[in-house]
C-alpha cells in the first residue's frame, strides 16, 4: 500500500531523537489521556496479530481454543503442516521470490527516474511523475484489471503468471522510490554535485560518487518499504496469477480462510511476518550503520580525494 514518503524518512530520522522536545506548560492530564488512547489503539492493532502467532503453535486443529503448545503445524502434521503441505511451501517460496524480483526492478527504476526528475524539466517527465503518483492512490483493482486485460488481449510475450505478477507489482510500487528519493534529493540540493563538477568530475562520475552515496539511506528505505509491501500484496497477484504454482501467501490466506483453515495458516502467516520483520530490521541496521559512516565522509575534502 502507499504512504507519502517524506514522513517515512522523517520518522526514521526523528526516532533517533535528533530534535529535542520540551513539554513546557502542557497539561499532564491531556498527555495521559492521549497516551491512553494511543496504548489502547496499539493493543487493538497488535493483539489480534499476536493471538494469530500464538495459535500457530496450537496442538489441536482449533484456531480459537488453546489446546497446548506444539510445533505440529510447522513440522510434524503429516498432511497439513508447513513442512509437509506442498501448497503452503510453494506459496511461501513464490511470495518471497516475487518480492525479491519486484524490489530489484522497482528500486533502480524509481531511483533513476527520481534523479532525472530532479534535473529534467519538461512535460514528459512531469506527466510520467503525475501518472506514478496516481498509482499511489488508484484502487488496486483498477491496475490489476488493466494488466489482466492487456495480457489477455495483446500479444505480450508473457501470459498470466509470475512475470505478469512482477510487472503489476513493479508498476504499483514504482511511486515509492520516486517519491522518497525525490524528497531526499530536494534536501540534498545541488551544491555537492556542483562542487564535484568544479573539481573535475564528469556528470556521470558526480552522480555515481557523490549523489548516490548520499541517496543511499533513501534507497534503503524505499527498498525496505517496497519489499514489505510486495510480500503483503493481494489484489494484483490474484488477478494476474495463473495456477496453483503462482499463488502467494496472501492468496492462500484468502482462499483457505473462507474454507477450512487450520493453524497451518497461522504458521504460514507467522513465517511471512518473521521474514518481513527480518528485512525491516536489516534495513534499519544498514541504515544506521551507513549514517554513522556518513559522519566521516560528508565533507568535500575527502570527496576531492576520492575523485
Amino acid at each position: 500500500m502507499t504512504v507519502s514518503a517524506a514522513p517515512a524518512e522523517a520518522i526514521l530520522e526523528e526516532s533517533r531523537g535528533s530534535r529535542p522536545r520540551r513539554l513546557r506548560g502542557s497539561s499532564d492530564a491531556r498527555a495521559y489521556g492521549l497516551g491512553t488512547i494511543t496504548v489502547v489503539y496499539l493493543l487493538w492493532a497488535l493483539v489480534p496479530v499476536a493471538i494469530t502467532v500464538l495459535f500457530s503453535f496450537n496442538e489441536g486443529r482449533s484456531r480459537s481454543t488453546w489446546q497446548g503448545f506444539s510445533l505440529r503445524w510447522y513440522t510434524w502434521d503429516p498432511t497439513g503442516s508447513v513442512l509437509n503441505d506442498e501448497s503452503i511451501r510453494t506459496a511461501l517460496m513464490h511470495t518471497v521470490t516475487l518480492a525479491i524480483i519486484a524490489t530489484s526492478i522497482t528500486v533502480p527504476l524509481g531511483v533513476l527516474f527520481a534523479l532525472a526528475l530532479d534535473r529534467w524539466r519538461g512535460r514528459i517527465p512531469a506527466g510520467a511523475n503525475f501518472l506514478a503518483l496516481i498509482t499511489f492512490v488508484i484502487p488496486e483493482i483498477a491496475l490489476a484489471i488493466g494488466l489482466l486485460f492487456m495480457v489477455t488481449y495483446l500479444a505480450t510475450p508473457f501470459g498470466l503468471g509470475a512475470w505478469a505478477q512482477v510487472i503489476g507489482l513493479v508498476t504499483f510500487q514504482l511511486a515509492y522510490p520516486i517519491v522518497i528519493c525525490r524528497a531526499r534529493l530536494l534536501t540534498i540540493g545541488s551544491h555537492y554535485e556542483e562542487a564535484a563538477r568544479d573539481l573535475g568530475a564528469s556528470a556521470i562520475g558526480a552522480v555515481r560518487r557523490v549523489i548516490l552515496p548520499m541517496l543511499f539511506p533513501a534507497i534503503l528505505v524505499s527498498a525496505t518499504l517496497v519489499f514489505a509491501d510486495v510480500l503483503d500484496d493481494f489484489v494484483i497477484v490474484r488477478y494476474l496469477s495463473s495456477d496453483a504454482s503462482t499463488e502467494t501467501t496472501s492468496m492462500r490466506i484468502y482462499q483457505t480462510a473462507r474454507a477450512a483453515p487450520t493453524p497451518a495458516l497461522n504458521a504460514m502467516a507467522t513465517i511471512i511476518l518473521v521474514v518481513s520483520t527480518l528485512v525491516i530490521v536489516l534495513g534499519w541496521l544498514l541504515y544506521r550503520r551507513w549514517l554513522k559512516r556518513q559522519g566521516q565522509a560528508t565533507d568535500l575534502g575527502s570527496f576531492a580525494g576520492n575523485l
Binding site: 500500500m1 507519502s4 497516551g35 534523479l115 492512490v137 491496475l143 484489471i145 509491501d229 511471512i272
Partner: protein, 298 residues
Amino acid sequence: MKDRSTRPLWPILGLPAIVWIVLFFFVPFYVVLCVAFGVVDPIFRSPIPVWNPLEWQFSQMGVVWDRLVGPDNFYLPAVIRTLVYVAIAVTSCLLIAFPVAYFTARYAGKYRGLVLALLIAPFWISYMMRMLSWINLLQPEGLVNTVITMGGLIPIDINWLSGNPFTVVMGLIYGYIPYMLLPLFAALDRISPSLIEAARDLGATGMDLFRRVILPMSVPGIVAGSLLIALPMMGDYFTSDMLSKSPNTAMIGNLVNLSIVTPGQAGQAGALLILVLLVLLAPMVLYTRSNAKAEVRS
C-alpha cells in the same frame, strides 16, 4: 557553469521508468477502454476489444449506465453503500488516528521511537493476516464474544460474521488506519514547536490553541491522509468478502470482481471501472496536486 554535455544524461536516466509507465500503466488503461467499448461474440459471449476509437461501441457501457441510473438501477444501492462505508470508515480512522498521531508527535518524549516502530508495524504485517486474526476473534466462540458475554454470563448473542455491515466497516478501519497515521503524524510533526510556544505566550491555551493553531495547520495532513485511504477503499472487495460474504454488504469492488469472473462480462467490468475512475479522477488529481505543493513547501 553549466556543462552542455550533461543535458542528455537526465532524460536517459529517466527513460526506463517512463517507458515502463507508458507500457504498463497507460497501455493497459487503453486496453480496458477498448474492451469496455468493444463487442461481445454471440455464441461464447467472450469480449472482443475494438482498437480503433472511431469504431467504439457503447452498448456495454450502456448496460452498466442503466444499472446505475436507469429504471432498474440495482448497482446504485451498492454504490451508495460503498460511499457510506468509506465515509464512516475514513471519519472513524481520523477520529482514532488524530489523537494517536498527536500524542506521538507532541507528548511521546523518550518513547517516541518505540511508539513509532509499533505504529509502523502493521505495514509489514500482512493485511490478510490482520484480517485473518479478526475472523478468528469474531467466530461465534471466539475471543470477542467470550469477552462481551463475560464468559457466558451476559446473554448477548451477536454473530459478527453473518453479513453484519458493522463488521465490514470495522474491517476497513482496521485495515487502512495505519496508512492514515503516518501522513497525519508527519503533518503534526511539522508544526514547529516555537509556533506553539509563541501562541501560548500570546495567551492561547488548551482548546483555543488546538482550534486556532494546531487544527488549521494540520488540515493538509488530514486531507492527504483521508484521500490516501479513501481512494483505495473505494475499490476494496476482499474485506467484505472475507468478513461478510453477504450481498447486503457488497461494495463497488465486489460488483467489478463478479463481472470479471463471469463469462462474457469482462467488458461490463471494464465499463464500471472506467466510470469509477472518472468519478475518482478529481480527488486523485487533488491528491497529487497537494503532494506537489507539500514538496514545494518543504
